[in-house]
């Protein structure tokens, strides 16, 4: 029995991406806050998940973006590199295209505003709501943060309660704390 060699497997996965045959490429990226499931369409990054169950993620991506979902290293390389640099403290801004095409208008507006919150700073949910032209929508902003498709790159960890408490985080409060500490926003 000749198993498919890792080189042959890699060659096919690279070729599939190179020939633009994929709806979504994904890979796993190791970081100090755990292994991330990272996925991208041709338009940009579409999903980052903590503690992912790959099978569930694949089904979700296939429903949202199309069936041709394949693990492929090359398309995820820019994100991997920038995440590495971020966790080494060498990068403060992500320079990555993002695919928010499937987000509702309000969510997209909030996520765009979120992307402008600088490294090492925090804003409150209410403040982010105001910046998104919906000053009374702090709670709705909280929901958008909770469902943020691209945590870390879209920095929902920089959004905190008006009393200064961290409040919540999709990936668990210990991670929110770790990210803010890395950025020097927490001592």
């Amino acid at each position: 029995m000749n198993p498919v060699s890792p080189e042959l497997d890699r060659r096919f996965r690279d070729a599939a991406a190179r020939e633009h045959l994929l709806d979504v490429a994904y890979d796993l990226v190791d970081t100090p806050v755990g292994t991330l499931f990272v996925a991208a369409t041709e338009r940009g990054l579409c999903r980052i998940a903590y503690d992912a169950e790959p099978e569930r993620e694949l089904d979700g991506l296939a429903r949202a973006f199309g069936l041709r979902v394949l693990r492929s290293i090359a398309p995820i390389d820019p994100a991997r590199r920038q995440l590495d640099e971020y966790f080494e403290g060498k990068r403060q801004r992500f320079d990555l295209a993002v695919d928010l095409a499937l987000q509702a208008d309000f969510n997209r507006r909030v996520l765009r505003e979120l992307a402008r919150v600088p490294y090492g700073e925090v804003v409150t949910y209410g403040e982010l709501a105001a910046r998104s032209a919906r000053p009374r929508a702090a709670r709705a902003v909280g929901t958008v943060m909770n469902r943020n498709p691209l945590p870390i790159v879209l920095p929902c960890h920089r959004v905190i309660g008006s009393n200064g408490k961290l409040v919540g985080y999709g990936g668990g409060l210990h991670r929110k704390e770790a990210l803010l500490r890395l950025e020097g926003a927490l001592l």
């Binding site: 000749n2 060659r11 991506l61 041709r68 979902v69």
Partner: protein, 150 residues
């Protein structure tokens, strides 16, 4: 049956398709054929209407590519002989004839007489076994004969 994400399809079938191509073409040529098989599957994947017979579908693509590879002259490989009657490859003579058969019988007939797979391989491709594959192929042939007699 709904279509799975391509990753799952690839993961489930890559080893047996590769083993099949190695048997047909030898290891060197199997590598290119393997990549081409799954790239072709990827190109067609979003046009599939349901997730039935995916295994047979993968074998059909791999078989076609093995035939194409086989036609390409290469001095350095020993090639398995494929039976032909009038110079056309057997699968080309059969395919349009078998078009009207029910899917399982069609797959069994084409894989047996067009691609010269044995019943064990066909059973594996169809997700059943050698006996069921033999029955499907003979049912298909009987149906073709009846049609010819009409």
């Amino acid at each position: 049956m709904t279509l799975p994400p391509f990753e799952r399809f690839y993961d489930e079938h890559r080893e047996e398709i590769y083993a099949f191509l190695v048997r047909r073409l030898g290891r060197d040529r199997a590598e290119d054929a393997f990549q081409e098989t799954f790239l072709r599957a990827l190109r067609a994947y979003s046009k599939l209407r349901h997730g039935e017979h995916l295994r047979a579908w993968a074998y059909t693509i791999a078989s076609r590519i093995a035939i194409d590879e086989h036609r390409r002259p290469r001095a350095d490989a020993e090639l398995p002989e494929l039976s032909t009657l009038d110079g056309r490859p057997a699968f080309a003579q059969l395919e349009h004839l078998a078009d009207e058969l029910p899917p399982t019988e069609r797959a069994a007939v084409v894989l047996r007489y067009g691609y010269d797979l044995d019943y064990g391989e066909i059973g594996a491709a169809l997700g059943s076994n050698a006996t069921a594959a033999r029955q499907a192929a003979s049912a298909g042939i009987r149906r073709l004969r009846r049609k010819e007699g009409q």
